[in-house]
Amino acid sequence: MDIARRLVPARQAPEWRRLTSLSVVTRSPDPAQMPTSDELTNLLRAVASAADRPAFAVLFKHFAPRVKGYLVRSGTPAELAEELAQETLACVWRKAASFDPARAQVSTWVFTIARNLCIDNHRRHGDGAGQADVGIDELADAEAAGDAPDECLSTSQREQGVRQALARLPEEQVAVLRRSFYEGQPHARIADELGIPLGTVKSRIRLAVGQLRRLLDEFRP
């Protein structure tokens, strides 16, 4: 954390931290220890502009264990998850210059990198039907052409909205959403493991997404 303090000028108001009582979704260490979103952005900028290895080490310490945790939770064997987590962070280094804070927060950007590497890996090894990668880089060009203003949420509005929604949702909905969307478990298995009917899994996901959408729509002009 010393490095982060040195690199990041003054601690700005950690806005998202105030807004989120992450208690519903987190079992991670004391949030006060976690770098803020602005700090992460500054660290990434230092990597992009000055190939700053100490800054990268801070990003690595923060994200690599989380990415590995994500991969293990989504069924990747531990050894491969270690490998892919390292590769994800190597990609963070290599692609640092293309990170655009106007489009996503660092954690969201890292999530998409990890997700796409995971898909690539599945495809290369021919297990599963071969998932689709999500054409984010290609979509960026389409977006540069100009999205309609009424569709545009600022990054901070979107990220805050999502965290507020997660904090407000009943735990049973967050649990189903996490298993289905984040960990990629089939609905039938979620129903089985939680001992609830399949229809309940689907309706909880629908409710959670509906609530998320309502909150985000409040931000949209």
Binding site: V67, Y70, A78, F111, G130, Q131, L153, F181, Y182
Partner: protein
């Protein structure tokens, strides 16, 4: 004006990286032309970022950072998102002027059009890594109708140009449709303009008529 969009379940699965390659490509083609759905996809990716942030970290190997730095030294940084390879945007022969060939399809091999009835042509796109994926272009002349049918598995359709009415609604350029075994329809192309659709077919279509079923079986639909 796009009227029909992929539903939340489909976009959520895409954002999580859980869609098959064919359905994922269909969604990507839709996203290219639909700012509304791009915003929805980004919402779900932000959800992924928030869950990553709040997720349980897994212990990395002791030498993980050193090994990642070694990976970085082996490969140079990527300055910006790589530009489109020149010459990659190969549309099928006889592609109508003024209709953009989707960027998401640029890696597909497109064979020549084949006849499947008066005023109706088709071709099957192949993906280099997933030759088994059932991805079709259908090109139906103005005023023509497809034979009445239902589906053995979910069929996704993205309208690239023209419009059809299947009794449920009119689908025009940029619209997206998902039809399953609950949908029994006979798409009729509106007069004045041919209609070209991209379809991802999960399983064989079930045609009412025997001749249509025979033709369908010949082309693998």
């Amino acid at each position: 004006m796009i009227q029909h969009h992929p539903d939340d379940e489909l976009l959520l699965a895409h954002a999580g990286g859980h869609l098959g390659r064919g359905p994922g490509l269909l969604v990507d083609v839709h996203l290219e032309g639909c700012a509304h759905c791009r915003a929805r996809l980004h919402d779900f990716e932000a959800l992924g970022g928030a869950l990553l942030e709040a997720g349980e970290p897994a212990l990395m190997a002791p030498d993980a950072l050193a090994r990642t730095l070694a990976r970085i030294d082996d490969a140079p940084p990527i300055a910006r998102a790589a530009p489109q390879e020149p010459g990659a945007a190969v549309a099928p022969i006889d592609w109508p002027a003024g209709v953009p060939w989707p960027r998401a399809l640029q890696r597909c091999e497109v064979p020549r059009w084949r006849w499947m009835g008066p005023g109706m042509r088709w071709c099957r796109l192949t993906l280099p890594e997933q030759p088994a994926e059932r991805l079709y272009l259908l090109r139906i002349g103005p005023g023509r109708s497809l034979a009445r049918h239902t589906h053995s598995a979910t069929e996704l359709t993205q309208i690239l140009c023209g419009a059809f009415d299947d009794g449920r609604a009119v689908f025009g350029p940029g619209d997206f449709d998902s039809a399953d075994d609950q949908v029994h329809h006979q798409p009729a192309v509106l007069p004045g303009h041919e209609c070209i659709c991209l379809a991802s077919v999960g399983g064989p279509m079930r045609f009412d008529g025997r001749i249509a079923a025979f033709v369908g079986s010949l082309i693998g639909m």
